[in-house]
Symmetry: C2
Subunit: 215 residues, 2 copies
DNA sequence: AGATTTGGTGAGAAGTTATCACCCGAGCGA
DNA sequence: TCGCTCGGGTGATAACTTCTCACCAAATCT
């Protein structure tokens, strides 16, 4: 979106068409899921015919890669915005749930079943680390009266991924549990595994968050 | 597999071919994922040509439905076997992890991203309730010195799904957290989200299990 | 203005799911 | 045991999909 005027008109048009293709792809994913993404249908709905799309994306995989990248970046943005608003760990946690419920297919595209032949590009791991840094910051700011867990001592020797983050091992362990527990509730809820049980998933999510905060 | 001799030869042959088709389907799913399941490839690998498969399964969806049913039943069986071996909650928990690691695609077929148009048949919810009953039993047998949580009071009025199970609300709440937390670690590990972080996922799983046991 | 890059199209190859009419042989009842 | 029925298998076909190719037109750059 930035400096859309320094580029040549060609590149402006190209970027706009790419954005429009991704827009239609998101719409199609939201209705039928990621595995039902059809390049032909996107092209037909945009008024142009099949092979024209290949001028903008090398294939289905590259389009999905771009969508995954956008999803990661969107999550990282909302995470940082929620962290900047204060409220400690609860802010990003509620933002995560809102982000997931806003478009479940987008959540599954990032955290769901990995697509068969697809491998995440190397730069999305950087964005993923960005979101993890937000959780790590929030966890490091929390008071912790618990002793270091046995997993904490294990992770002390295996934390190169928390690249130079000044968080004690207990905070790193807590950040990981924040991630896995919130994802556990969210993914089961979004996949529909709670239908039939008539409790409120939001309350279970809140209960997990409370348990993560009060320790 | 039972009473394979009271049936007519026709039905015996039919059941055997159906089983062989499912065998090849599992093999194909284990290598390429569920979305890459090709009826043509299965037929070709079995020596017969395309449309012959439609004598045994109405289509791709019915085959997947049958595989989901088998996966649920396999999980329920291993769960009950693990619960029968004693060891309380740790038995089913480790059995779940072993079952998931044994065939990740099978785990994702049950707990992963829901396939676009597919709806779980009504009888698998019964099998799912069977596995939930195992967790409920184990949780009800655990000593609990914690007071009833606020979610516990909520679930007291919304527990028709725990159909007549004589577990106190705290045990129901704990059973739900067992499910969501173990699934949280497992699904992220199987989806490859821990690659790059060099800690041992088994230890994180064990840490979550320990935290669930000691409360 | 002329040359070149770029976007778009139609045709076509190689897949897929799924349906159709047809054929043949195994299993069934008389 | 004979004959018939019915179920399994096949090829052809339709409607899709992704993706490649040669060609054409139009916009851009020199």
């Amino acid at each position: 979106m930035t400096d859309t005027r320094t580029k040549t008109p060609r590149e402006r048009y190209r970027a706009q068409v790419r954005a429009e293709i991704k827009e239609h792809a998101w719409e199609q994913i939201a209705t039928a899921g990621a595995s039902a993404l059809s390049l032909n249908a996107i092209a037909k709905r945009m008024g142009m015919s099949g092979p024209a799309l290949y001028r903008y994306f090398a294939g289905r995989d590259e389009l999905i890669t771009e969508l995954v990248r956008d999803a990661y970046r969107s999550l990282a943005d909302t995470f940082r915005a929620a962290a900047g608003a204060g409220a400690g760990l609860a802010g990003p946690a509620h933002a995560l749930r809102a982000w997931a419920l806003d478009d479940p297919h987008r959540y599954f595209l990032v955290f769901g079943t990995p697509v068969p032949g697809y491998r995440a590009p190397d730069d999305v791991t950087g964005i993923a680390a960005e979101t993890m840094a937000v959780i790590l910051d929030a966890c490091a700011a929390l008071p912790s009266d618990r002793p270091t867990t046995s997993f904490g001592t294990h992770i002390e020797g295996h934390r190169q991924w928390a690249d130079g983050h000044p968080a004690p091992p207990a905070a790193v362990h807590r950040a990981l549990t924040v991630w896995t527990r919130l994802h556990g509730v969210l993914s089961l809820e979004l996949a529909g595994h709670f239908t039939g049980m008539e409790f409120d998933p939001a309350l279970l999510y809140a209960a997990e968050l409370d348990d993560l905060l009060e320790r």
